[in-house]
């Protein structure tokens, strides 16, 4: 049997199209891997083997008839906050433990339309609130590079599944770094597109002005292919942007000669681990050999991005999660005394500790008397951060820096203090506040753990960001390394 798990998404798509192997073969092989590694990694919440094999069989028939889309027959997985009709969507929460969506998210529909076969739904921090995948009702996900460590979060299941080569690509979402941070900690590629580029319809909402769907893959080329298929205008999402999706794959090979790379002074602060910084500096030298120019820039308000985020995101979350009332869907407590008792106990039992913390933080900052001081203040500082980015992109094409301050940390190491956990996203939150496209790619190792390099572009410059990431991956092999035992 061919070792399909070592093939990239692009290779599998091409091999299936050329009919070198069948989707049923690939799907069976990867489903076997998913099952075999589930107890050690806990990357999946639901595995949909029967549905996957049926879809694979249908894909083979389509391919035999000379038809098919860009991803026909390629197995993928969805983060468990993308609604899937007929398959439960839990969001990593007891609240939605038995929720079965009556419709598909647009992302799910588009990827199926492109021919992808879904193997299952991946584990995640509850309602995407977390940076370590430890807040999931279904238990923590473990990092394939070292199972005593976290995979990052909130898209930890998707990241671990791709890093362990259970699937060549998975969907994910990024509200404050939930695609890029786990990509960095798991040694894979993770792309968050521009706010509005990928439809949020059917993506369970956390913080609506920040949430954006994206991809976790093993290379920038795979990210380009998968993103091209899932991006685009959607009338069902009021913040979806009606501009055509460029062919991200077609522009991957453009030379980087003359590319102006901005080095954010604020990214190379004292919080950045010295060994991590060394890997980032080495990567920047690679970019210089590729013809790029390094330019120092400063975003003076960027250090405020974490405090801004921890006002804006909880505020939006407390509003979004008000819908979970035990009436139309989700958990309901036993024997409620009255309506209010039902609301309070259903929500108290259905939500985990971190979700409750954020709902309460949001409730507080939005309450009368505090709204101006916290919420409006945060939105004003958000405007300043946004202006900083706009100004920076007048003199540079992309910004490059670290994705995270440190490599993966131990399970349980940061659960006691929420602020310590929140500071994990110190380098990623800026792109969410300003709605910018950003990618994390592997750029080396510190003590056998992967380190991520972050590339941020201006609005709708996904092609440029992917191009820059791909050029780096053509001359380095960090992204091809597999964790021991998973090659």
């Amino acid at each position: 049997m061919a070792d399909f798990h070592n093939s990239t998404l692009t290779e599998l798509a091409a091999g299936l199209r050329a009919r070198k192997f069948s989707s049923v073969e690939v799907t069976r092989a990867l489903l076997e891997r998913v099952t075999r590694h589930q107890s050690a990694l806990n990357a999946f919440i639901s595995v949909t083997a029967d549905e996957a094999l049926a879809a694979a069989h249908a894909a083979d028939q389509t391919l035999a008839g000379g038809g098919g889309g860009a991803l026909t027959g390629v197995p993928i997985a969805h983060k468990d906050l993308f609604c899937t009709q007929g398959v439960r969507t839990t969001c990593g929460s007891r609240m939605l433990d038995n929720f079965v969506s009556p419709y598909d998210a647009t992302v799910v529909k588009k990827l199926r339309g492109a021919g992808a076969v879904t193997l299952g739904k991946t584990n995640m921090d509850e309602f995407a609130m977390g940076s370590s995948n430890e807040t999931s009702y279904y238990g923590p996900v473990r990092n394939p590079w070292n199972r005593e460590l976290v995979p990052g979060g909130s898209s930890g299941g998707s990241a671990a599944a791709v890093a362990a080569r259970l699937v060549p690509g998975a969907t994910a979402t990024d509200t404050g770094g939930s695609i890029r941070q786990p990509a960095a900690l798991c040694g894979i590629t993770g792309m968050k597109p521009t706010y509005g580029r990928v439809s949020r319809y059917g993506m369970v909402a956390f913080a609506s002005s920040l949430d954006q769907g994206g991809v976790l893959t093993r290379s920038a080329a795979d990210a380009a292919l998968m993103l091209r298929e899932m991006a685009g205008f959607d009338a069902n999402d009021s913040t979806s942007v009606d501009t055509p999706v460029p062919d991200y794959v077609a522009t991957l090979e453009q030379p980087l000669t003359g590319l102006r790379i901005g080095l954010l002074r604020e990214f190379f602060d004292k919080g950045l681990d010295a060994d991590n910084e060394r890997r980032i500096r080495e990567a920047l030298r690679v970019y210089e050999t590729l013809g790029a120019r390094l330019i120092d820039v400063s975003l003076p308000h960027l250090p405020m991005s974490v405090p801004v985020y921890y006002v804006v995101a909880p505020a939006e979350c407390s509003s979004n999660l008000a819908r979970f009332d035990g009436v139309r869907f989700g958990h309901r407590c036993e024997n409620p005394r009255d309506l209010n008792d039902m609301y309070r106990r259903s929500r108290g039992e259905g939500f985990g500790a971190e979700v409750k913390r954020r709902v309460m933080t949001g409730t507080y900052v939005l309450s009368a008397g505090y709204y101006d001081a916290y919420y409006l203040k945060a939105q004003r500082v958000r405007a300043l951060i946004n202006e900083d980015f706009v100004r920076a992109f007048e003199s540079v094409d992309v910004l490059i820096g670290p994705t995270t301050p440190t490599p993966a940390f131990a399970l349980g190491a940061k659960t006691a203090d929420p602020i310590t956990m929140y500071l994990n996203d110190i380098y990623t939150i800026g792109a969410n506040l300003a709605g910018l496209p950003a990618i994390s790619v592997p750029c080396g190792f510190v003590q056998d753990l992967p380190v991520g390099l972050q590339i941020v572009g201006p609005h709708f410059a996904e092609a440029r960001v992917l191009n820059a990431a791909h050029a780096f991956q053509k001359v380095t092999d960090w992204h091809t390394r597999a964790p021991a035992g998973y090659a």
Partner: protein, 114 residues
């Protein structure tokens, strides 16, 4: 029925000072958010919410005079409109299987009016 005053009572002219929330304030916030907390949870949130408020209090140091609040990142976009025509159909039968308690096509909740 809730003591809103408790939530709003905290004088917040000096953000740089430590924001120590009281048990009563946590109870009021939880009531506003419709969250039942266990006795063991209250001190945990008292501690962590206080620390979060201290942490985000750093924003106060930022000069935002004459800066308009930014609600979402795509500043150039205005809300899309569509023709005022019916596009949705009744999906009640599809939706109701997810509900904890239904009868005769209705969603059941504890009695509201005595």
């Amino acid at each position: 029925m809730y003591d809103f005053a408790l939530v709003f009572s905290l004088h917040h002219a000096h953000f740089s000072r430590s924001m120590a929330l009281t048990r009563e304030q946590i109870a009021s916030i939880a009531a506003l958010a419709r969250l039942e907390l266990t006795a063991a949870e209250v001190p945990v949130y008292q501690d962590t919410l206080s620390r979060i408020l201290d942490f985000v209090g750093a924003l106060e140091a930022c000069d935002t005079k004459d800066v308009a609040p930014l609600a979402h990142p795509l500043t150039g976009l205005s809300q899309r409109l569509r023709p005022d025509v019916v596009t949705e159909q009744d999906h009640r039968e599809q939706y109701q299987p997810n509900a904890p308690q239904v009868a005769a096509g209705l969603y059941l909740v504890p009695k509201v009016i005595e």
